[in-house]
Subunit: 340 residues, 2 copies
């Protein structure tokens, strides 16, 4: 479980220079579609909970059973199944639409209530006079997909987030199959939205995203993952939200990159053209340096042309400002990818 | 700059156990009044910006020149000079009182505006209809002390936060003297409140707190530090705020412990009875595990009796709950102090 410094924050004066203040250590794995390790930093088998980076694979049972066709889900609704959405109007409308198509109401969602991520992402104060509901929770799209699978299989929805509910058994089985690891090797934990989450070696998470981006020789799995890749890359605004990092990365990728962040500083990316998957974990769980690290992973892999560099410039070496708006330091990459 | 894991967060199910999700690495130094290293974790000379742990020493020039007597400052006002206060009514009243005694108004404060820490510390929403002023900034007590020194010395206050203002030169000189390091060895940086801050080896920060707690053979310095220790330990409610960690630690210490947190996961503590100083830095700057680490440093140093254990129980191994209030994991110590 070896980590290396991936990013640092500095503090100083323009005249006298900057001193490192905080160090964010972690690990990175880059693999091809067959799971072969291409590049890494720290231990590429560093084990991390996958958190929201798991969402496309939590939708797998529903996709494998052709749920989207059965209920007539639109592409933007498929994108919502994989989303950590911002609770913007279009996100809420999309979740309501999924629920209407499966004939269920929001009262069945077991994700808990959550304030929309929109406000923090746009530096806006959170309205105090609002009562937030499960619909506003960033995972409500995933949970509406969970309900859809239950509807499809005639399974009672109560307790669908429990570890041993038939839905979660199906998720666990599909995940183990997709990642080619035994179910018993996947440590489980309760996620922020109460659903079971699983820990994986980073290289395995990267492998999942390589398969998401480029498919697999397993036709049934490829048939399920293909529409999710298309939905996420065509409607990144439904997977993420205004001013949020996955939207920025996927927009820069122009349909070639599928990016999904997870809580506690997890980032997974699949690159269709290069046939690779990338997984990053900052060991301390702080997102502060995550996007800067992601930028430099992409850069060191040769994936940034001038247009993408410009589109992602905000992440390269962002400044840190204090209470008066004075520049106090910056966030810097400390990453050097090792190559196979 | 070697760090070691100091704390971890876990995730799991009560039935199947918990898996480490995030690791907070860092370093700890424990020294005696002469600066001799007694115990440590990681590199005890790990360099860190001191942030708000520097506040008592930023007040040194004012104390060395007998400012408190000159302006008739009360003990609670002395405590405010060293405070990261919560912006509670008593804090605002205290800062206003200092300003009145030195004949200045809040318009001269250059700390920037900041919302009171009170709300977040008490899990309350931040009122949206309030205009926060520099008075509310957690550093306004320190800054009123800065203004007091300027008044005392007839120095213009405009730009008192600039690196080369006479006040900041005086602070730098007094700090270098107190920590027994050359000024030129102290990397500078702009703090959140725009004042210059300095980086120190952890053992040196610990040495400062040992001297703050127990005085020094340097009579002039001891004469200045003694009243600050008394003020901070008698009025920890003015140094910190309701439900905040320094108040909890100093209350448990019962007048024997002086504790000051700094932004980006710095903690300094001086123990009068034991004649020691403690400095802790979590390398990633995240406070999440800081209080748990502090608890276990105190415990491993043999400073926790049953009463203190009970008073600090909230920090020992706190649970982590998700959006529905379900226990998802906990924060655990990974600390083992090495001994000289």
């Amino acid at each position: 479980m070896h980590t290396v410094p991936l990013a640092a924050t500095t503090r100083g004066y323009p005249s006298s220079g900057y001193t490192v203040e905080n160090i964010h250590a972690g690990a990175v794995a880059v693999v091809d579609r067959e799971g072969r390790l291409l590049a890494w930093a720290g231990d590429p088998r560093y084990q991390t909970f996958t958190r929201s980076a798991l969402k496309p694979f939590q939708a797998l049972p529903f996709l494998l059973d052709d749920g989207p066709a059965e209920f007539g889900l639109a592409q933007e609704e498929l994108a919502l199944l994989c989303a950590s959405h911002s609770g913007e109007d279009k996100h809420l409308a999309g979740v309501r639409s999924i629920l209407a198509k499966i004939g269920m109401d929001a009262g069945r969602l077991e994700c808990g209530c959550g304030a929309p991520l929109y406000y923090e992402a746009n530096n806006l104060p959170l309205p105090q006079d609002q009562a937030w509901t499960p619909l506003h929770h960033n995972c409500s799209g995933k949970h509406s997909g969970f309900l859809a699978w239950c509807r499809q299989h005639g399974v009672p929805t109560a307790g669908y987030v429990e570890f041993d509910h038939p839905l979660q058994r199906a998720v666990r089985g599909a995940l183990a199959d997709a990642v080619q690891l035994p179910e018993s090797s996947l440590p489980g934990g309760i996620d922020g939205c109460s659903a079971p989450n699983y820990a994986l070696p980073l290289a395995s998470l990267a492998h999942l995203y390589a398969r998401l981006a480029q498919g697999t020789t397993d036709a049934r799995l490829g048939h399920a993952l293909g529409p999710l890749f298309e939905a996420m890359t065509h409607r990144p605004d439904m997977v993420s939200g205004t001013e949020r990092s996955d939207l920025v990365f996927m927009t820069a990728g122009g349909g070639d990159w599928v990016a999904k962040i997870g809580a506690d500083a997890v980032q997974a990316i699949g690159i269709r053209s290069a046939g690779i998957g990338i997984a990053i974990k900052v060991a301390d769980g702080n997102n502060r340096g995550l996007h800067t690290i992601t930028y430099h992973v992409l850069d060191q892999l040769g994936l940034l042309d001038e247009g993408r560099r410009a589109a992602l410039e905000r992440f390269r070496q962002p400044q840190i400002r204090n209470a008066r708006g004075t520049v106090a330091g910056d966030i810097r990459s400390m990453l050097t990818l090792q190559r196979a």
